[in-house]
Amino acid sequence: MKTPAKPVPVPASIDDTLKLLAGADYLADRSLATVLFLALKMGRPLFLEGEAGVGKTEIAKVLSTTLGRRLIRLQCYEGLDVSAAVYEWNYAAQMIAIRLAEAEGAVDRARLSHDVFSEQYLIKRPLLQALDPNTAGPPVLLIDELDRTDEAFEAFLLEVLADFQVTIPELGTVKAEHPPIVVVTSNRTREIHDALKRRCLYHWVGYPNAERELKIVQAKVPGIGKKLSQEIVHFVQALRKEDLFKLPGVAETLDWATALTELDAVALDPATVSDTLGVLLKYQDDIARIEGSKASELINQVRAEMRAAE
């Protein structure tokens, strides 16, 4: 990962936060910039919830590159436990140490126990790594898709999020000198316990409005025509008003824009839209609903809106 040589200080105001994000082509709305600024300033974890593909994970990545911090990512999954998330002992090395001690005839049990459970044999996993001192400033800790784990795992996080420390029974408590910047994301496939949310600043990341989405498309898809980008954004915005099972996110808009640019399209037409709908919609029922006549109807509606706006 490329990082600037000098650590960048955290932004001093909401406007600075907006500028910082915009510098990395992340166009946030003011509410998100406010909560992000507060999280950085107050040293609190940021809890982002929202539909898939609205740029929750991206925020952590952008923060790490613009602030020049290391990004430590913990991808959550069902069955995630302490040994994969916090720490693990190097058992093979420990067993060898025990054998060696035996061979040497050392029988001081207390010392052996102390030696075997020392930092030398500790394997640090993401949560513990995030507490380590870092020359470039505290790292960005991204705990991604927390809703994918079960409730039991949330309990492990409470201590980390509240006090930025981890307790290892054999070793004691490890506390971060400078707390990391923590970003927790959730797709809301289940509710996260209130005890965890209480320790964080909460923000719901929604779909952007047409104006902001257009800016995002133009910033992220190089070489896209003005007319095409406008039509794409208006089409997606119209699609979000339809009764679909899964609405397209910003990530889908960007994929679609890239796909249409690759196909050398200059404007939307019903055939191309129907052919490339799979980039935008991910459920067969949704595709069947929009394909064909509905697609051309939406295109006409979008064109009429755009003409009216001019």
Binding site: R30, T34, L38, M42, R44, V107, D150, E191, R198, W204
Partner: protein, 405 residues
Amino acid sequence: MQPAGRLAENIVYFARALRVAGIPVGPGSVLDALAAVRTAGVGTRDDFYWTLHSVFVKRHEQSILFDQAFRIFFKRRGYLEQLMSMTMPQIEGMPHEPAKPASQRVQEALFAGLGDKLQREIQEVEIDMRLTVSDQEVLQKKDFAQMTAAEVAAAKDAMRRLVLPLDDIRTRRLAPNRRGRLIDMRRTLRASMKGGGSFIDLRYLGPRTKKPPIVALLDISGSMTDYTRLFLHFLHAITDARKRVHSFLFGTRLTNVTRALKAKDPDEALAACSASVLDWSGGTRIASSLHAFNKQWARRVLTQGAIVLLITDGLERDPDDRLAFEIDRLHRSCRRLIWLNPLLRYEGFEAKAKGIQTILPHVDEFRPVHNLESLGELCRSLSVPGGRAAEGRARIARTEAERAA
């Protein structure tokens, strides 16, 4: 910028109003809010709004309540304007929007909690609000006190004996287990250190099992009136006994009553339910209710191998393809779909109604449930270990065979 002394006071009052309106705001959040306002300063109205929002709101649903509360509270107090007029050359006027029904709770919260002067001010708004609450549907409030005392006692008794099915599912998490097949290195080494590491006593891990979540969808339409109260007791009992139970009521619209049923006392829980539902004993729109569930809730509550209890008579007003589509989607997004139907009590029950015929092929189990006796039977049948999909299909086949004969 250092907030004025009055601001702190106002945030405390505002937090209290939020609490009464139904957003759980602890004293910790109030301190956080003060710190946040101190950090961000009172710049524009929007920044102030989002600053408080980031601290007080912990769920997406709470955003609406917060928005209403913020609007009313700081409008009435006129305080924010004063504060901003000191720091800004010009104040933007408040957009005047028509009141929404959702603000009723906020209105009540603000009305109940604050000083005399404020109460008078709010009262004007409240009258305004009352007039705008429209009666778009037959919104009847159902009185729960219709069941006789004896019936209630008997029902509660039946509920107490309720044992839920023993259908543990395997999780991917491991727990210490003597007969497990994986070696637990952490415990093994710790145990062997006790003996100075001279011998190594192996400890094992096995998969941990847990009860799957239950999601209940209860029909409260007119044709189900006689049973809804009983089933609500039933839902309260299982909510009490199990950790992860989500309950939804539907008639013409879908209502999530999970939180209401969490109250320990059944009467309190049922009263809370009754307060949150607006379409008691109205019509049935199974397809649109299932559609709402599939769209808004299925992905949030049907994870981790959930069982769905669908409690309805299946008498859809106008059954069409949508019902088949929605029930099929529901069936495919849960681990097991159990249909409890009070109509099954009739000896010669025939699945003639089109709605019933549409739903039948998509359920794993089809069970009778109609009154107190059959409720006892339901408890017993649910308590039988197993009760797998195959059994349910056998039951459906039996029903169909009887119908054919």
